[in-house]
Symmetry: C2
Subunit: 354 residues, 2 copies
Amino acid sequence: MPDHRFRPEALTLLGTRVFVALGAPEDIARAVAGSLVDANLTGHDSHGVLRIPQYAERIREGKVRPAARPRLVEGRQAIGTVSGEWGFGQLAGRLALDEAVRRAREFGVGAVGVVRCNHLGRMGEYMERAADQGCVGFVWVGGLGRRAAVPHGGSRPTLGTNPIAVGFPVEGEHPVVVDFATTAVAAGKIMVARAAHRPLPPGCIVDREGRPTTSVEDYYAGGALLPAGAHKGFGLSVAAELLGQALTGADAIDDAPGKEPVHNHSGALFIALDPGVMRPAEETRRQARRIVDRIREVPPAAGFDRVRTPGQPEVESRAARAAAGIELPDDAWRAIKECALGVGLRDEDLPAAR
Amino acid sequence: MPDHRFRPEALTLLGTRVFVALGAPEDIARAVAGSLVDANLTGHDSHGVLRIPQYAERIREGKVRPAARPRLVEGRQAIGTVSGEWGFGQLAGRLALDEAVRRAREFGVGAVGVVRCNHLGRMGEYMERAADQGCVGFVWVGGLGRRAAVPHGGSRPTLGTNPIAVGFPVEGEHPVVVDFATTAVAAGKIMVARAAHRPLPPGCIVDREGRPTTSVEDYYAGGALLPAGAHKGFGLSVAAELLGQALTGADAIDDAPGKEPVHNHSGALFIALDPGVMRPAEETRRQARRIVDRIREVPPAAGFDRVRTPGQPEVESRAARAAAGIELPDDAWRAIKECALGVGLRDEDLPAAR
């Protein structure tokens, strides 16, 4: 099997060129490609460069407008709403998070809804962005077009993977970042398993008849995802559906471009909170540090080398992969290469494996 | 086995009398007893009247001040902090939720921390209270004194049960209420299992060596709780620890009364959000109704009679138990009776079983 291991900058450049070739301005193309590569760096390949061909297809189908820039459509006091204008979700998410942070600085807490946003990418990135600006962050995503998950006790899918995330700044190190799909696995993890020709662990998916299975192909043949932790993940998923869609008004949006739009009624709620109002921010961060230190001091259980706090695996992966390079499965690399050549890039534009 | 089934009002009256006998003003005693009985009505016996002897013991130990009333200690724009003044947590929680709602009405979103609060009771009750006032609600509880849960990958407990909850108003019916411990089971559920002499399902607890077990007695002999859904429940628990304790400053509180105070460094964060800013509130509630209706239409999986949305089991239980009465296990009723007689109530003050 050939070695498909690349320097992160080389993949970012490739992604940028693909999106530019498809009509994105340079700055937008670079921002989106950078987010995808950072997802690979943090270990979340499901949200990484394997999305390049998917995004390219959506641009060609007219569903994603590569040159569109998001805008704040309305705001009142500590609340705002951002329209992604059917451009790349990464831009809409950043604007929404930044607007929530701006409101948190003025009022102590701010909440911003996002609509017309397409795929938002890795939620943890926004939570890091909130913490980098000194704020606590929350995000809930709902109304995802593809009904992928069964409700607890149900046999047919009616919910998306509805991810949620929380970020919290910590003194002297990376923030705590909790970021997960409310299903037992994210849809993107199934794409990764399929690309690697691996089965899934039990308790993740059901087949088209609603019966438990571990076969990825059963999932693609009309199967569905199970909620994480039975009624608990289901409850969070319903909350995300309500907060991301009903609260923001994403369900009432009817101007999605392209045929059979995928994310036409999806939306997200970003909340930012100033950690320096109830007590000085440095005391908040200091106590956060004591909490993560205390948790990491716990002796590991059988099968673990040590206890990691949420966000720590991503930071460790980022350091390791920045040094060693990002490795892509054969199928994923072939799809990216074909996509790049298909939009007019030449063989010499493709990065050399390292 | 004798029948210990009581009318809800009779148990509320009994609880009120016990707390009054221990020094609570009538209105406070009734509010707290009412919350406990409502927890039984909703099916959450772990947060119900079996807490009466526990609360009574904490009052006698000086840890709970039965006559204390909570106060808003500081507020700035959309943020506030409530001190429970070491009184009953139910009063502190209500004030904090109401203050968050007041801020949501003014700014669109409001966040209020709570410290010095003792046991807050059932979180779902606050979420119903937010929805009754037309708002979306969130709560995160952290810093609970008793280290009960192991971190994901760890062998020793260092986190509390750290519950979280979300409430969302729905047109024409009860709100969606998501309310759970971030551990696989709540500590209170173990109290219920012990009272009923039942084992727990696998995946809930470990023994004192960190090994999986289903025996309640292993838990009480130095065991611990597992997080719900492995790293997902663990992530939520860490977030709750940070939000409930580090953000509110609960860790810095050092004036807890009584010896070996149990909840001295615990705190909670309540957030309320006005669902009528991004779109008209009636449209938000109408779409929420469509979402819950859509979920309930899903055909049930094997082993389920139908799909229920979060908050629905509680509403159905409340109707059933209001009619049929609240049944208590023998141990629980005996402890309550002894407690009542111990504070000076007479046999004729005890409710007759129905």
